[in-house]
Structures are given as structure tokens and as C-alpha cells.
């Protein structure tokens, strides 16, 4: 018997055309049609099919049915006559063309933006836009929105890194949704100075003047990032209260374990971790009270939609981490927070482009200039890439365009089999993003350590439901293995990473997870990794957006319990875990 599971059965029928689903709602059933269908078939097709004897066997599946003696004799006769018959299992069915179902199949609850069966922006001929000279992310967003598959190729060019130099097919070509658009992206030249003048640089320079305002340091100057979460939340509330005119923005309020040396530098340490956990009581007490929710609702004009948990483990003693609170605005399509982080951590050109794009986008959403100014000033500084990566990882969940988009192109590699297999054994995970350090694969390292990142990483998304590695963008859980041994990774001195800081792991958890599963997952992770955590960042991200009041409450489930137990695990006091 095969290992058919409900998930696989679901997947088999996941991408049926929308009109078939519509039939379930609208169409009636014709008894005549049914009776005709249920009659013993008389036509030639059925007569032929009746000669097929289905054989279930243990051999590797090859081709076709064993046919009856009559048909077999006929076949032998045909062979004798020199008539060869080639059966190609993969030939397309020209009568009923079948879409490529599994390309977009997902068991996640998210509807793919490009789902050709549920939205109307695809399944028709698409005129390919001109993506040349656009920022890669921008082009990818647009192309995905049009339902195109993207293939990225990096080429040397005098253009700035991340700028599309050419595309195939070219602009104006008509293609169908689901077809592949190849973008040739500049990997940059040596001179990527933001002062280099090009046509677009005019605009860049124009927007550069606002860049520093994204990085106010007032929040960072606090003596200790363990300032109570309540304060953090209130600070954020004040900052964003005036920006609620537009729909669909989300604020993340986090608490973390970073400490500070009073010089814009925050340290992660076990002591700070303990401290912030202790001080988080106030936060949770506040959160658990209805007035807290009302407070958020009142201040934001809306309420809490859901809560994420995030823990970053560090084996190092210290990390330069200047953020004690994050305020991230994003839209379900365009993650502005990610743009900002990309802007911060990529070259200046990208940053300027993204900031400009952000502003344009905010204007399009209806934000006033004063609102945008407030947002700019509410940004906290994240000066080091490590921290930016950590924060960016928060944005993985549920969003199509995430920070590591560029890296999800690697084929399965045997060097990481053990890692993935081991990870795959962790509890009941269904999706897992795995990032491995470059040392595991020199080829990847060579190809993808061109300065854009601190080092190449393998990125897999493993769908354990049907055991395949694929680019699955709607993971519920992300596990990021950066390294478990500081010797495993070569830091790129260009970015000045403190070599003793090892970003060990990152886990984000979203809704729909039973907290017992989450706890077990963490325990397994810890056991597998055999880590002795020296510091950790624990972030609880509360999404505050325009969620209607009637939908808020069900999203608030078990936050405190989960948080507590995560803390226990991080601190090694999980003995009480049931």
C-alpha cells in the first residue's frame, strides 16, 4: 500500500481550476448525465480500458499496464511487424492541457498571490513589462504579481549591484502566466559608490537626504535595552498613532534580550536574557488584560491580529545590536520592513532606491507627508548586518518576498543531507528553511560570496509532507542554521562582523501551531544542536494592524505559556517541561 496521507490527497487536488470549484457552489447535478455516466460503458475507449489489468507490484514503477492476452498478442504481432510503439508518460495531454500543479502547490494556508485559479490577474496572455534598470526586488514583485516564474542570473555589469541589466523575454513579448522570465541582474562593478553619477542617481541623491532620518538613535540611546516592554509598546504606540489613516500596516512590538553599554551598542548576554525575561512579566500582565488590547485598539485604531515568537541563539558573548524595538510597516504584498532592512544592509544604491520606493508606496497608500516623516523618525538604527539579518528573519513568515529571495536557488546537495535529515526528524515540522554555512559547500561559497552577503548559504525549504525541497515561501516555521561551530564560517571582513559572534539559530513561530509541538521542537533543536547558549534574543512580535475587532480575539492564544517555555528552554531550565 502506498503512503498516501491526507496532505498528499489534498495536494493531488489542490490546483483544480477555479471553475470546477465554482461548480460546487452554483451548478446542479443532472440525473440524466449521471445515469448515462453510470451505465456500463459501451464505447470503444471503455472496451479498450476493460482489457487493462491493473497490477500492483513492488517493482519500480515503469510505464504501462499489463494488457490482456488478446491485446498482448496483438502487441507481439505488431512488434513482429516492426511497429514500434513509444509510450511517453510525459507527453502533454493536448485535449485537456494540465497546468503545472505542483509548482504552486502549498499546504500552507496562504493563498499564493499568483494563484491562477483564484485571482484574475493571471491565466491570460501577459505582456512582459520592461524590467531593465529596475531594482531586482521591485521587478520580482511585479513579475510575481503577474504570475511569472522568475529566474535570476547574476552578471557582471557596470550597473549597480541588484539592477536588472536585461531580461528574457524582452519587454512587450506576450507570454502566459507561469512561464519563466529570466532577469539578468548586475552583480555590480568595483565602483558602487553612491556618488557615481548616473541618470537615476539624480533621484538617488535627492532621496539620500532623507536616509539618515530612517535611523534615529533616540531609542538606541537608552541605557539598557531591557527597558520594560510596556515602555517599548507605549513608545511605539505614540509613534504610530498618527499613522493609522491608511489600511494595512502592521506594527511589530518586540522585546529582546539585548543589553547596552550605553554607547549605542547593545550586548546579548545571558544576564540580559534573564533580565528581560524577568521584566517581561509586566508586559504580559498588561497584554493579558483586556484593557491592553483596548489600549492598542484605541491608539492604533485597530488591534492585535496575531503574535509571533522569535528566538535567536548566539554562541558568542556579544553582538553589536542596536535595536531594542522594531517598528516595521508593511503591506501584505510589499514588505516595507524588508525593504528597509535590505536598504540598510545592501549597498547604498539599493538603499536609496528602496527608501524612495518606500516613500512612494506610503504616499500611494494615503499617508501624508507628516505621517511619513513620523515613520522615518520612528526607525531605529540597525547598523550591523547581523542584527539586520536577525530582524529581517522575522519577516519570513507569510510573506512572499523575503530577505533571502536571492538565495533560494540551490539544488539539493548531499553535503547537507545529514543536516537536513536530522532537522527533518524534529518533531512534526512540515516546513523548514535551512541555511547552512558556506563551508558545507565550496561551490556555493564561490558562487555566492561575491560581496553581496557575508557568505554563501544553502537555503532549502523542505516540505516534509511530500519530502521535496522546493522554494516554499509561506513557511510557518523557519529554522536558520548559520553555524554551530565558529570555525565553520568565514566572516566577511568587509562588513566587519565580530568573529566571535555566532548567530546560531533563529526560529519564528506563527499561528496554527500547537504549543506542545513548539516546545518539543525547541527541545529537539537544542538536543540536536548541542548548544550551550551564551546569549539569546527573544522577541515576541505583536502584529497590530487594521484587523477588525471581531477577528482579534481568536488570534490571541497561549502567548504567555509559549513564551515562558521558550524562555525555559533557552535558559536551560526546561526540566519542568511536561
Amino acid at each position: 500500500m502506498n503512503k498516501m496521507t491526507p496532505e498528499i490527497m489534498k495536494a493531488m487536488l489542490d490546483d483544480i481550476p477555479q471553475n470546477y470549484i465554482d461548480e460546487l457552489n452554483n451548478a446542479d447535478i443532472s440525473l440524466d448525465e449521471l445515469n448515462s455516466f453510470n451505465e456500463q460503458p459501451q464505447n470503444e475507449e471503455w472496451s479498450t480500458c476493460d482489457n487493462i489489468m491493473l497490477v500492483q507490484n513492488t517493482k519500480p514503477r515503469r510505464k504501462i499496464a499489463v494488457i490482456s492476452a488478446f491485446a498482448g498478442t496483438a502487441a507481439v504481432f505488431a512488434i513482429v511487424l516492426g511497429i514500434g510503439m513509444h509510450i511517453n508518460r510525459n507527453k502533454p495531454d493536448t485535449d485537456t492541457p494540465a497546468p503545472n500543479l505542483f509548482e504552486s502547490t502549498t499546504l500552507s494556508s496562504d493563498i499564493q498571490q499568483n494563484d491562477p485559479h483564484t485571482t484574475e490577474n493571471v491565466s491570460e496572455n501577459i505582456t512582459v513589462p520592461d524590467f531593465t534598470f529596475l531594482n531586482c526586488d521591485e521587478a520580482v514583485d511585479t513579475a510575481k504579481f503577474l504570475g511569472l516564474d522568475i529566474e535570476k542570473k547574476y552578471v557582471e555589469s557596470s550597473e549597480k549591484a541588484g539592477i536588472i541589466t536585461r531580461q528574457s523575454p524582452t519587454a512587450g513579448t506576450k507570454i502566459k502566466s507561469g512561464e519563466t522570465l529570466t532577469l539578468y541582474i548586475s552583480s555590480g562593478s568595483e565602483d558602487t559608490s553612491p556618488t557615481a553619477k548616473t541618470t537615476s542617481d539624480e533621484e538617488i541623491i535627492e532621496t539620500k537626504s532623507v536616509k539618515p532620518s530612517y535611523r534615529t538613535t533616540n531609542a538606541v540611546q537608552a541605557e539598557n535595552s531591557t527597558a520594560s516592554d510596556k515602555t517599548t509598546a507605549e513608545a511605539n504606540t505614540k509613534t504610530t498613532a498618527k499613522t493609522t489613516a491608511s489600511p494595512k500596516h502592521t506594527t511589530k512590538v518586540t522585546t529582546d534580550s539585548s543589553g547596552s553599554d550605553g554607547k549605542n551598542t547593545h550586548y546579548h548576554s545571558l544576564e540580559n536574557t534573564k533580565k528581560i525575561i524577568a521584566e517581561s512579566n509586566t508586559f504580559w500582565e498588561m497584554l493579558e488584560k483586556e484593557e491592553a488590547i483596548s489600549h492598542f485598539s484605541r491608539e492604533y485604531g485597530s488591534g492585535i491580529s496575531h503574535i509571533e515568537y522569535d528566538i535567536d541563539f548566539y554562541k558568542g558573548e556579544k553582538i553589536v545590536y542596536t535595536s531594542q524595538e522594531e517598528i516595521i510597516y508593511y503591506n501584505s504584498k510589499n514588505s516595507i520592513g524588508e525593504m528597509l532592512y535590505q536598504g540598510r544592509t545592501y549597498d547604498n544604491t539599493t538603499e536609496a532606491l528602496n527608501n524612495r520606493r518606500l516613500e512612494e508606496y506610503l504616499v500611494s497608500l494615503g499617508y501624508s507627508a507628516s505621517d511619513i516623516e513620523i515613520m522615518k523618525n520612528s526607525r531605529v538604527k540597525i547598523s550591523d548586518k547581523e542584527s539586520a539579518l536577525a530582524v529581517a528573519s522575522l519577516n519570513f513568515i507569510g510573506y512572499e518576498n523575503h530577505y533571502y529571495d536571492d538565495e533560494i536557488f540551490f539544488e539539493y546537495n548531499t553535503d547537507t543531507t545529514e543536516l537536513i535529515d536530522k532537522a527533518a526528524g524534529l518533531g512534526t515540522l512540515s516546513y523548514l528553511d535551512v541555511f547552512a554555512p558556506p563551508v558545507l559547500n565550496d561551490e556555493i561559497k564561490d558562487e555566492h560570496t561575491d560581496g553581496r552577503y557575508r557568505g554563501g548559504r544553502l537555503c532549502y525549504n523542505v516540505d516534509f509532507t511530500n519530502g521535496m525541497c522546493q522554494n516554499e515561501e509561506n513557511s510557518l516555521v523557519n529554522l536558520v542554521f548559520r553555524t554551530s561551530d565558529k570555525n565553520d564560517i568565514q566572516f566577511d571582513s568587509k562588513y566587519g562582523y565580530p568573529s566571535h559572534v555566532l548567530y546560531f539559530g533563529d526560529v519564528c513561530i506563527d499561528e496554527y501551531w500547537d504549543y506542545n509541538d513548539i516546545m518539543q521542537y525547541f527541545l529537539d533543536l537544542k538536543e540536536y544542536s548541542q548548544f550551550s547558549v551564551l546569549s539569546a534574543e527573544i522577541a515576541v512580535i505583536i502584529h497590530i494592524d487594521d484587523t477588525p475587532t471581531q477577528l482579534m480575539q481568536p488570534q490571541l492564544s497561549q502567548p504567555k505559556e509559549v513564551f515562558r517555555r521558550l524562555c525555559d528552554i533557552v535558559l536551560g531550565t526546561e526540566d519542568n517541561f511536561e
Binding site: M1, N2, M4, P6, M9, K10, A11, P17, Q18, D22, E23, L24, N25, D28, I29, S30, L31, E33, L34, S36, F37, N38, I52, L54, Q56, N57, K59, R61, R62, I64, A65, R89, P97, A98, P99, N100, L101, F102, T106, L107, S108, D110, I111, H117, T118, T119, E120, N121, S305, N466, M468, E511, Y512, D514, N516, D546, T547, L551, P554, Q555
Partner: protein, 186 residues
């Protein structure tokens, strides 16, 4: 209320969209979720989650069919929830029954976890659905896509239970044959 009007409400961030959606499709949502999850309480949660998903995805999405859109959402969320609850084996009874039936169509040695094979099989099933008379397709999908019990299908469409069973059996047989012709059986 027409679907387009409801969608417009979503796009205008009018919370009435939620009540109008519930009014029009609440029972359907609940039924699909209940069939997959096997209990009413969880189905209520799914309804909220589905509404939340609608709220957060429209805009930018503009579904051509609100029913199809929300049905897919509900089905996905329900399966997600089941998967999360896997340790408790909380799939609805109908899922297990339908699974047994549906498995009959799939070759015993089929590598259900193989990416290529799964994709091919899924494509063939979709192609097969296109060959079916509409009535048979509806019954097949109500049973194996929406997990509707046979009796409920019969009641919904005012036909005999045995007719439903016969149709399903016939469709499964046809699917097996279709797959055999496409090389999925040795």
C-alpha cells in the same frame, strides 16, 4: 448580495464585508472545515481564520469568484490545522474515509513523496477531471476536495445515496484507468 459588492467592501476596508461574507458563505465555510476537521468547534475557529485571511488578502487580491477563493482558503487552513494537530490525529472522520477511497486510485508502488511523480500524478488527475461530465465531477470534488459525506452530497443535490456511491465508484475506476493509460501502473 453579489460577490463583487462584498469584494468591494473588502477593498474599501469596510468591516461589513465580514458579516456579508459570513451571511452568504458562512455555512459553506463551516461545512468544509467541519468535514476536514471533524468537529464543529474547530470549524468555528477556521471560519474566523478564513475571514482574517480574506481581510488581509483583499486587497490586493481581487478574486474572480469569492466562493472559490474562500473555499480554497478554508480548505487550506483546515488542513494546516490538522497538520499542526497531527500528533493528536485530529483529522476528521470524513478525511480518513475519503482517503481510503481515494487511495484505491493510486498505484500501490507509487512514490507519493516523489516530487516529479506527484506533480505528474496531480496533473493527470486534473486532466482527468476535465474529461468527466459536470455532474460526476461535482460529486467527485465534493467528496474528495471538500470532503463532503456521501449522504450530504445526496441530500444537497436531491439524488439517491446509491447513485452518489455508484458515481464515485465509477469515477474512481475511470481515474484508475486513466492513470493506467498514462503509465502510472505497471
Amino acid at each position: 448580495m453579489e460577490d463583487n459588492d462584498i469584494i468591494t467592501e473588502f477593498e474599501q476596508r469596510n468591516e461589513d464585508a465580514l458579516s456579508h461574507t459570513t451571511e452568504k458563505y458562512g455555512k459553506t465555510i463551516h461545512k468544509i472545515a467541519e468535514n476536514i476537521l471533524g468537529n464543529t468547534h474547530d470549524a468555528d475557529e477556521i471560519r474566523n481564520d478564513a475571514l482574517m485571511k480574506l481581510w488581509s488578502t483583499i486587497p490586493p487580491q481581487h478574486p474572480r469568484s469569492l466562493f472559490a477563493y474562500i473555499a480554497v482558503i478554508v480548505r487550506n487552513i483546515a488542513y494546516d490545522k490538522c497538520r499542526a494537530d497531527k500528533r493528536k490525529k485530529r483529522y476528521g472522520e470524513q478525511v480518513q474515509i475519503a482517503l481510503d477511497e481515494f487511495s484505491e486510485c493510486i498505484p500501490s508502488d507509487f512514490d507519493v513523496e516523489g516530487h516529479t511523480d506527484s506533480r505528474q500524478l496531480s496533473s493527470e488527475i486534473q486532466a482527468f477531471l476535465g474529461t468527466l461530465p459536470q455532474s460526476s465531477r461535482i460529486i467527485f470534488l465534493q467528496r474528495y476536495w471538500a470532503m463532503m459525506p456521501v449522504a450530504d452530497i445526496a441530500e444537497k443535490y436531491g439524488i439517491n445515496v446509491n447513485t452518489v456511491k455508484t458515481t464515485l465508484r465509477r469515477t474512481r475506476e475511470k481515474l484508475r484507468i486513466h492513470l493506467a493509460k498514462e503509465g502510472f501502473y505497471e
